[in-house]
Amino acid sequence: MSVRPLEIDDPRAVVDRLRGRIAALEGGPTRLLVPVLPALAGLVQLRTGGVYGVDSASLGMALAAGASQAGEWVGFAGWDDFGAEAAQQRGIVLGRTVLVPTPGEHWLEVTAALVDVLKVVVLRPPGGVDAKSASLLEARLRARSAVLVVQGEWPRCEARISAEQVTWDGIGHGRGRLRERRATLVASGGGRMPVRADVVL
């Protein structure tokens, strides 16, 4: 009789999975893992019910891309300058993308309604968010097992990911073209030490 070898790729991920399962068995709101792009795997783990902050449009797209590639629906609210081609190049399936370019004054209700049915919602809030509205939306996120990515201000974030030292390859002075962007991403928050990773965005 042969025993199947145990495949342990990342002990942390296994522990997280087990914790999620325990929480599910206990009947509490489960905090399931939402897939992220391989490039971001070591840096951030998206978990349902969480709010994640980003500081650029491309990072917002990158965070939604993992779930989209895994067959989930994603949404973008408040993006009146959505670059569809860039989204596709980053791995977002446009056919499963909902876009509300200008939700206007209803932005909180729209986000709440999107969170109900989509896995990842990337929001660009028009202004400040008060703590009460934020906590209402966070409760909704936990109940619906969705992830909110915010480009802008948000009272409490599970993690905040920002790009530092952005450099572009392939471009000179009147020569070449933009080819690749290299950046050092920093993930901070959640009471942990900031994590850094050099990635090609």
Binding site: A84, E85, L94, T97, V100, V110, T167
Partner: protein, 542 residues
Amino acid sequence: MVLWCPDWSVTAALLERVDAMPDDAPPADVAAPAVVLANNKVVVCNAAARAEGVRRGHRRRDAQARCPEVVLLDANPDRDARWFEPVLAAVEAVRPGVAPLRPGLLAVPAPGRYFARRGSGGQDERIGGEEAAAAVLAEHLVEAGVWDSRFGAADDLYTAERAAREAPPQSCLSVPSGSSAEFLRGLPVTVLADDGPEGAELADLLRRLGLVLLADFARLGAGEVANRFGSYGTDVWRRVQGREVTRLASRTPPPELACEIAFEPPLDSAEAVTFSVRTTAERFVAGLADRQLVATSVRIEAEFEEGVSARTWLHPRCFTSRDLVDRVHWQLQAGMASSGLRSRKGTGETITSAVTLVRFLPDVVEPAGDHADGLWGGGAEEQVVRGVARVQAMVGYDAVRVPVLQGGRGAADRQALVPWGERPVGLRPVERPWPGRIPGPAPSRVFATPLEAEVVDEASVPVAVTARGLVTGEPWRIRLGRHWCPVASWAGPWPVDEGWWLAGSGAGSGRAARFQVVGVDGRAWLLCWRAPGSWEVEAAYD
């Protein structure tokens, strides 16, 4: 008996144009020269265009050179078929058993052809019967708006079609019983070109062989024809020998699938109408489902005392009764002056008084099997559709979009945002090379309206691009809004010369050149220089 409407594509396209125009517009001239184009080539031209020297196969500019006022129309086989439907109905009302052959061509059993009556003098009287029938049909068609119809009567379908093509407008050419082959043999070989590319090829070949009339072709031996002219040639040969007889297979009239509900007294609020059309929408969907059909495009007409608001709605999958009720709501909301929401494409008519009637007309129906959910169910999707419909109810139908890609040069040209619940139509193909487009990764932010900018060189002199596509100076600093940002690196220019014929009439025309610029802070921008010397930011690699 065959009814032929010459140049049907042109007629259908013109009918559609007239239909799309508001009622108070000046009546369109149906006799104006017009052509239908596919791939920039003329496929069909009407008599007026032909009179000006326009021919099938001409390029767009050749046609315009010969006849500058020619109306250019796009080819659309669906439209041709759709607009032929009323013609079928008009003929069916007079003579049941209509067989549509293709848009513009239909067959009906000729009166008296198969039960001829001998007249008192022993003469055949049936010929008169056919001509009388054709006159009655022509009269009905003129009432339906079809001016040019020609009739041909013969023993078999092919000969009748030929006869119809030989007939003068609105009259009938009748080929006596038993003389079909004789009639065909009298025709020149060039008539075969009407049968499509195969026919055109054979006609050309026969002409070059020195065979002028089909009678000459008929004189060839059966074996020779079969060996040399293929199956199509053999078909034609058998016909001119009088051996091939095609009879018509008539259609059953389509069932009435449209549903309507009248309101007595008329309702003056969109909500009340929406509530009341629910059962009608259910009946409409059920009526289609009984025939294993689903609608993917539905025309909703709302009649009120002073007019009609009509709009065609497309659905990416298929309409359920719930979807239809939503569409009614949106259409009325957009049309009613009191509502705060604005519509992207006006419904054509503002609703000024209480609604008296709502009608659902199936525009495109497809077999239900093509749209059935898998056995494992489309559960998640269904949920998304419902959730997004709720967002639409909050912020309006047009505020929720689905991004799609299309071809183009500028960043904004390469994408389109389609309203959720509508099928994308009229997109530019992506696969074309699109010379002048910017290489590299696509910008993540594409501004719908470009931002104003300024680019200067080291001496603070504005940078420009010469007619030969050279930069007058090295970009040193750029101004975005109020902030100046030093340039770290830049690439370009990618010159474009689009729409120069529109020069001076606004954006998107004239000479322009695009640049990629990276600021010292690592942010990159897609800038565009436009001919007189203005800079704008089209997109950002944020």
